[in-house]
Symmetry: none
Subunit: 124 residues, 4 copies
DNA sequence: GTGGTCTAGACCACA
DNA sequence: GTGGTCTAGACCACC
């Protein structure tokens, strides 16, 4: 599991970390119950402050994706609660993306093809 | 064509305006070549600073969605460049959304159903 | 609206601030839409670091009690979403409190009396 | 009397043990004068460090819920001091919970209903 | 001038 | 040795 942080982009580092870990869980690269790197270790590895990692972990914890315990560190949650719905924020984002896709000339079939490709990537 | 600015949400106002205009073009509410309100008129209408509108228009122009001419103001571009591809940013966002959807228990069919619903909304 | 931070207690400062603001909203001391102190002003007033206040505001924002905007600062949300249920955490806490109350000799009526008293305090 | 330690929750293990024993006494599962398991036995049973159990017992002793005697181990106290009042800490917690309940749209009757339900659970 | 992000330190409770 | 909290600074985007 390798995290890559992009610099020339305006997504906060802690969000990028949060997103990458979600990719990892979703794709199976991180298994249920699997141990995550310690805050300090991950901070050293990607060269950021420990608080930045801590913030990412706290978000993931608040969202129900991981659990953290004092002595044991952070682990992927065994059972992640499934609402089976997109958040309002994600619905809004998806609408924006689809609007832009349509303006770029992509039809519904083209878009679905992209979705399928990503699904396979994530659905290893 | 009515612009609705949501407050209590983290998207900058100029981005919201940019997005809404894209929805408008995508859905046909704004036609190719159609005149957009002047910066000052739109600023007055939705009660924000003129600089904010100006910034939104500049972005839309840089992205190739509108053209601005001296004295005549801004118009929707006649032929919007069709790359038929998602931008890297949008691909990344879509991947994030799909990852979260999958973790929430949505299968590929569930997701495609949401896409279809939004497509119809935008494609009205 | 005065915030009082207690020191000899192991509740994190940002939590205490979060709680006090919730008391304020619940009791009506803080009205819907009312402006909260700026992060820096409140930090100076109670003598803590600005990040500590910021963290409290972010929690309140994530919980849907307040909204924050770049230029306008933080305000009490106009319509606070009502689940009409206690969180699991609060149910667990309430169970613990009731157990301890019972062991101290309080009957159900005694406990209800305390609840009523607090309700009036909060329900000004 | 079975102790269940929940993981993925922010309450320290020694506190969870302390709370569960209080539930037990309150509900009658543990009777006055009843012998508690030895520190080592309980530690082995639920798979935690003996120090953790010891800390829980020390707290319960300091709070007056149990007594410890040389050689004989720990027992539930015969007569638990009945102040018939909530501790200041519990009053504060209850106030917080009621404030949150009220903001979630629960009226006093709704809250009392929850209290009643828990009372029956604890009062079995 | 606002909230948001980030750093480089520090101390603490838990186990 | 872990995550959690806190400080005192700094810079940034937004408006």
């Amino acid at each position: 599991m390798i995290l890559r942080i992009e610099e020339g982009i305006d997504i906060p580092i802690y969000q990028q970390i949060r997103n990458q870990i979600i990719y990892g869980i979703s794709s199976g690269a991180l298994e249920a119950g699997e141990q995550l790197p310690t805050v300090r270790a991950l901070a050293a590895e990607i060269g950021v402050n420990a608080m930045t990692i801590s913030k990412a972990y706290q978000i993931l914890k608040a969202e129900g994706y991981i659990v953290t315990e004092r002595k044991r560190g952070a682990r992927v949650r065994e059972k992640i609660a499934g609402s089976k719905k997109l958040s309002l924020t994600n619905q809004r984002e998806l609408k924006r993306i689809i609007s832009e896709a349509k303006l770029s000339g992509m039809g519904r079939a083209d878009f679905t093809r992209v979705v399928d490709r990503i699904y396979e990537e994530v659905d290893s």
